[in-house]
Symmetry: C7
C-alpha cells in the first residue's frame, strides 16, 4: 500500500508510511478492530541525505527506500499529502529493519 | 502568495510563509473553515548563512529560497512585518521539502 | 526459548528476548506466580552495526547474538513479531552479560 | 531613538534597545495602546567579541552595531542604565536582521 | 561476604555488593536494626572494559575487583543472581575508594 | 565600596561585590527603599584561572579585577567573608561590562 | 579539626570536611546556635586524580589537600567514616579557595 511521494526528507529524517497489520491472534483468530494496538511498523518511502557530524562529515542513513522498519510509538510528525498519511521521523526513532 | 521580505535570518534559521491549503476531503468535498487543521506547510522566503560546527566549519542550509517545506507544528517564532505574517524557524524544525 | 527473528536492529540497538526465570526462593521453594518480580534478563537475538562517534568512527557493540544480558527495567520498546515478544534496547540500557 | 551606551556585552552577547512600533492595523487605523503586542524588534547597540568554540576558535557575531534585529520574545535580560532600557541577549536569541 | 559472580558488566559499569555495616554509635553502643541508615559502601565484584571517548579511545576504569567503594545512594540497578544481591553502577556513580 | 578578599575563585568563576545603586528616577527624584529593584551590577573582586576546553586549552576570562559588570539576577552563590557579602558567579552569568 | 581519611576520591571528586564557623555577627556578638546558617566552607582532605577530557587528556584538579574551599550548598554526598563526617564533591561544586 506504500506509495511514491513528493516529500524529500531533510537531514537524518525519513518518510514512513504505516503498515496496517492483519489483526490475528497467535492461534489465527481474527480480532475485531477495537482489540488492535496501533502498529509501529512502516515502509520507508524516502530518506534524507544524512546527519552532519561535529567534524563536518555527513553520515548516510542505515535504511533505504522500500525497507520495512519498526519505529518508536510516539516519535515523528504525521502529515497528510494528497490524501495519503505519512510520518516523518528522525533516523534515531527507527529501531530496526524487518 | 509568498512575498519578498526584508528579513535576513541568522545562523541556521529560515523565514517561512505559511501556505493556506485548499480544504477539501479525499473525495473532493470542500470543508467549512472550522474543520481545517492549521497547515504545516510553507514557502521558504529567506535562509540564513548556516550553522557553525564545533570545528569551526559553517554548514550551509539544505533548503533554499522558494522551496516548499513541511515544518514541525510548534516550532518557530511568528512575526508580522508590513502586514505579512512570517515564521522564523531553525533548520532542525524543517522536516521535508515537497 | 530464544528464537531467530527477522528483526535487524539499527545503530547501537539490540533485540532481546526476555528469559522467564524459574521462581524459587533462596531455599529452593517454588513461589506462586504473583510473588515473582518481572525479570530483567534476556537473550540477545540480534545486534545493530554499532554507534557512530563524533569523529566518524563506528564502535561495534560489546554484546553478541546469544549472550545473556541484564538490562534496565524500564529501557527499551516492546514489539511482537509472529507471535513472539521482543524488546529493542539501546546498548546503553544493557548493564551486564551473564 | 537608539542611544550610545557604556555597556560592553561579553562573549556572544549583544545589547539591544527595543523599537517602539507605530501601532497601526493593516488598513492603517491607529490602535489604542492596550491592543499593541510588545514588540520583538530592536536596534543593536553593542556586540560581544564572539563565542569560543570547543576547538578554541572565537567566532565573531553575525550582527553588528546599528543592525535592526528580531529577537525571541522571552530571551534576554532587561537592564536600565542611565534611565534607558536595554536588553542583553545571546546571539542565539536573535532570529533575523531586518 | 563478597562473592564471585558470573556478571560481566558492560562499558563503564561495575558490579558492587553492599557491605552490611556493624551498627554502632560513635561511643560503641550497638543500635537496633531500625536505627541504621542504608549503607553506601560496597565491594567491587567485577568491572567493565571502560568508557569509549568521542575520539574513539577506551578509558579503563579507576577501580578494580576487590576495591571497597562509596557510591551515590540512589545510583545503580539492583539485581539478584543465585540468591545474592548486587548493584550494577556506572563508574560516575562511584565517589571514592576506601 | 569594593574590598580586597582572600577568595580565589576556581575555574571560570569570578567573585563579585554588589554595587548599591543610588535610587533615583529618570527625573532625579530619590525613591524610598522599597521601590528599589535589587541591583544586578557589581565590581569584580577576583577572577578564576579560566575554563578548560574539550581540547585541553584553558581560556582566560574576558573580565578582570576592578571591572564593573552586569550579571544575571538569579545566577551565582552568595557568601559572607569577614562581614562582607560576595557573589561567586560563573563567567557565563556575566552579561556585560560597564 | 580536619583529619586524615582513608577515602580516595575518584575522578574529579574531592573529599571535604566542613569547617564549623564561629558564629559572630559583624559587630562581634556571639549568636546562639539556631541563628547560624549551615556553613559552606570546608577543608580539602583528599583529591581525585582528575577529569578525563573528550580528547583523552586527564586534567588535574585546581585544589589540593589542605586547601580551604567554599562549596555550593546543595552539592555533594555526605558520608560518615569512623565517626567523622565528610562530603564528597565534584570539583565543579567547588567555587573558590580561601
Amino acid at each position: 500500500m506504500a506509495t511514491k511521494t513528493a516529500l524529500k526528507p531533510l537531514g537524518d529524517r525519513v518518510v514512513v508510511q504505516r503498515i496496517e497489520e492483519q489483526a490475528t491472534t497467535k492461534g489465527g483468530i481474527l480480532l475485531p478492530d477495537t482489540a488492535k494496538e496501533k502498529p509501529q511498523k512502516g515502509k520507508v518511502i524516502a530518506v534524507g541525505s544524512g546527519r552532519v557530524l561535529d567534524n563536518g562529515t555527513k553520515v548516510p542513513l542505515e535504511v533505504k527506500e522500500g525497507d520495512t522498519v519498526v519505529f518508536a510509538k510516539y516519535g515523528g510528525t504525521e502529515i497528510e499529502i494528497d490524501g495519503e498519511e505519512y510520518i516523518i521521523l528522525s533516523e534515531r526513532d527507527l529501531l530496526a529493519v524487518i
